[in-house]
Structure formats: structure tokens, C-alpha cells
């Protein structure tokens, strides 16, 4: 299955990536190869196999509704490049 340059541009926009024309073509080819790979796999008859969302044979793992201490507030933003008064600062959104 082939991907168009427009598809690459759409995905790049969602991922906030600025791509050059050459890069667009490179990724167009690579992404098309990935989808082609998936297409080949999809030829296997899986009509009798339930879809796998999880690889572990586990369900119902819960925790009790009990509170635990949160991080000290001065530590929360200690790794943030930009913060003020305990809040994370982010550049203008729109």
C-alpha cells in the first residue's frame, strides 16, 4: 500500500515535524514499506483468532482506593526547563 506525500505532510504536521522535500520522499517510501509489510502479514487467515490487545494472559489488576504521598511540590518542576510558582510554563499554545 502506497502512502502519498499529502499523508506524510499530515502526519508530520500532527507530530510537529518540519520536513524538507527530500525527507518527505524518504519517509513516504519508508512508511509505504512498513504498510506493505503489514499488508503481507494481513494475508494470514486470522478469522478464528481473537484480536490481541495484550500479550499477557492477565486481567483485573486493580489497586485499592488508598492515597499515597505525592511528590514534594518543589521537586515536581525541578526537571522542567521552564516553571513558575510550582506550575509548568509552556509556550503559547495557539
Amino acid at each position: 500500500m502506497a502512502i502519498s506525500i499529502e499523508d506524510v505532510e499530515h502526519v508530520a504536521k500532527l507530530a510537529r515535524l518540519a520536513l524538507s522535500e527530500e525527507e518527505k520522499e524518504t519517509y513516504r517510501k519508508q512508511l509505504s514499506d512498513v504498510l506493505e509489510h503489514a499488508r503481507i502479514i494481513s494475508e494470514v487467515d486470522t478469522s478464528e483468532v481473537p484480536p490481541t490487545s495484550h500479550s499477557l494472559p492477565l486481567s483485573n489488576v486493580f489497586r485499592d482506593d488508598v492515597t499515597r504521598p505525592s511528590l514534594p511540590v518543589e521537586e515536581v518542576t525541578s526537571n522542567a526547563p521552564w516553571a513558575s510558582e510550582g506550575a509548568f510554563r509552556v509556550p503559547r499554545i495557539v
Binding site: F62, D65, T67, L71
Partner: protein
Amino acid sequence: MKLETIIGLEIHAELNTRSKMFCGCETAFGGPPNSKTCAVCLGHPGSLPVANREAVGDTILLGLALNCEISPRSIFHRKNYFYPDMPKNFQISQYDVPLTRNGHLEMDVGGKTLRVGITRVHLEEDTGKSIHVGESGRIHGADFSLEDFNRAGIPLAEIVTEPDLRSPEEARAFMQLLRATLEYLGISDCKMEEGSLRCDANISIAVDGQLGTKVEIKNMNSFRALQRALAFEEERQRFAIESGEKLMQETRHWDDASGTTHPLRSKEEAFDYRYFPEPDLVPIEPDPAWVEELRGRLPELPQARLDRFREQYGLAEETAAMLTSEKALADYFENAVETGQDPVELAKWIAGDLVALLKEAVVPVRSCPVGPRGLGELVALVAQKIISGKMAKDVLKEAFQSGRSPAEIVESGGLSQIADSGEMEQVVDEVIADNPAAADDLRAGKEQALKFLMGQVMKKTRGKANPEMASDLIRKKLSG
């Protein structure tokens, strides 16, 4: 051309668990920014979420209350998006296999019973709060934004209805019934002003049975705002259709101050969520015994209680609806009924004066200074003609403010009516002697004069005369 309004709602209710959905941070409202966060709800690398059993149980309970099917197997999905209010850049939500689906809620509105379909009730995590800093104070033109993740990760139940509502009034009535249902179940604080209960709406106009273009409205923070926003949008769309304009499928923002909706920039909703199963959380397969245990916990729900109040106590629909809109209020009423007083009278006092006093003082009914027994006492005093209905209003107010019992207030304050016929006769004689013209008028059959004389009697007794007794006495003295 026949136009029909079609409305569906999407409601988010924060669940009132003690800890967050996937970590142990506490959920209480407020506090300094990011004081209730940890590696899990901040999305630090290597941290792993574990689902809160209580939140799953609450959602199943809600599903049962809304007559939904409980999915035998349900999974979480990641909903990916670019917006800084989730540190992980995705929200853990549910997609194609929600915990519960295919339900309905029946409600009485405008004299008919309406059955509103419930598409699904699923469980997700709430997002953080953004404060946009800059001259505008809004997202547009902000210099930067501040992110507080105290709310991020609080369990959130999402309820989606079928497009079964036909007017803004029906939408509001549904929302009120749903709020009451959540409150009866005790699983959410339901505070629209604090954002623990939120509502978005989809509205379109069908033309001659042909479905129209759907518009989503956001930012309605009260029942009134919901109804106003839908009424505005209904009018806007009908006008566009009637003048041959084309409507756009879009998301619009309700502005409560101007009373209008306006489109959000398409940039803000260029979403492609790329849902995929959350690999860090295992599927939920509710044990049937657990579901039955939850079913056993279902209380009598608002509509059922409303119907019972009408039948058992003979209340009018409006009064019954008012009393059952809040569980604590309905409980108050039924406790008051146990005092043996007339349920209709008790309901009248609660729905009228008492609710007004509570509202004015911003006191929840649970902490009402006049308890159900106190109210029963008040109604008994009126029934025994010890005080008039008018005086009872003052006694109730005094009891509400001082916390003293109505009987005590009547005793000590000398508020008891003058029901002694000798004392009353003396007052009436004096009033007639002082106002001979009015007395003549009444003798001549002018009913207006009775009102005037009654006023004089009340003035002389400072409102303590039993009105029935006084007017009987005046008539007796002046007839023939």
C-alpha cells in the same frame, strides 16, 4: 418545510474516589499547583499506571443505574493529542469496548414520558488545568500558559446519550435528572461550578425528517447555560436554514456573558487521536458476582422516588420533582413525614420557605439548623391553630437563624395567637368603636371594609390575632 431540533449530550462526571484513577495522589479540589502529582500522573518515564478498583465499580454502578449492558471484557485505549494539559501527550480513555453501553433513562418532561438512549458510559482520566497568561487572559494572544496537573488523572466517567432530545428544555431536564442520579449513587460531587460535572452538546436541525449538519457546543457551566446555549444555537441554525444558508459542521464555544456561541478556530481541533490499546493496563473482566453486588447497592433512583412521592403522599408533580432533585432533600422530607404531620403541608414548607432559606444562607440541607422534627413541630403548631400560617413563616426564619425549636420560640417569644375569645372580643369592639365609618360600610355590604377592619385588628394585636376568628367576630358584630 418541517424543522425538528435534534440534541444529544456528552457528559463528564468526576468520580469522588479518594485517590486518582491510576495512582495514589489525592483528588481533593484545589491546593497549590502540582501539589497532588507523582511520577505516574506526571507521565515520568518508567512509571506504570494501576487501575483504581473503586472507580471501575462506580462506573459499573452508574451503567447499571442507566440500564446499560456491562461489557464482559473491556480495555483502555490511549487517546493521543497535542495539548499541554496532559503530561503524557495522551489521555487514557476507552474506545471500542467501554465498560458499559446500550442503556436508557426514562424521564417525565412536559407531561409525557421520554426515554433517552444511553450510547455508552466509559471510564477515563481527567486532564490538567491550563491558565493562560497575557493581556487577554484567554488562550488566544496569551504570552504563555501555566500547567497545573492536580486534576490530571482524576477518574472521569463519560456518559454519551443518543440524539433523543428534542428541545433545550428537554436537554436541561435530562441533565438535571442525570445529576440527581449521580448524586443518589453518591459517586460524584456534581459541582458544575467547580467543573466536577461538565456537559457538551451536539445539536442539529432535521428538515422534513432529513438529518441536518451537526454542531458541537462546549463550555456550558450551569444548567441555565446549557439551556440558553442550546436555545441560541437552535435559533441560529433554524434561521440559517430558513434563509437558505449552508451550516458548517464545527465546534462552537458558548460565551455566557454575551449569550452567544462562536466557532473555535479549526486549528484547535485538528485532531487525529490515533487510538490504540493501552499496553500498560490489563483488560477488565468484571466478575458477575461483583456486578450483582453492585446491583444490590443501587438505591431507589430519582424518577422512581418522584413517582412514589406522587402516589404515596399525593404530592403535585412539580413539588415531588423539586423534593427528589436531591437525595438529602428527599430524605429530609420522608423523615419529616415520620412526625405524623400532613405530607402535603410538610412538602409545601420544604419546597417553599425552607429551600429559600437554605439557598439564601448557602447551607446544604444536611446541615439545616431546622431538622425534620423541627419542621414537623412547626406544621403541627399551624394545624392546631396555635399560630397562623403567616406567623409560622417568621417562626421558621427565627428557628433557622437561632437553631431553637419552633415550639420553644412560640412559647418564649409570645408569638402565640390570641385565640382567647374574650380577649379577641375586646379588641374587635375597640376597633369597631374607633372606626365607625368602616363599620357602617361593612353593614351596608361593602366587603372592602372588612379588610380594613382586619388590618386594624392585626395592628392592635401586632399580628397575633387568629385571622379566622377575628373576621368571624367582626362579621357577627356587624351583621344585621
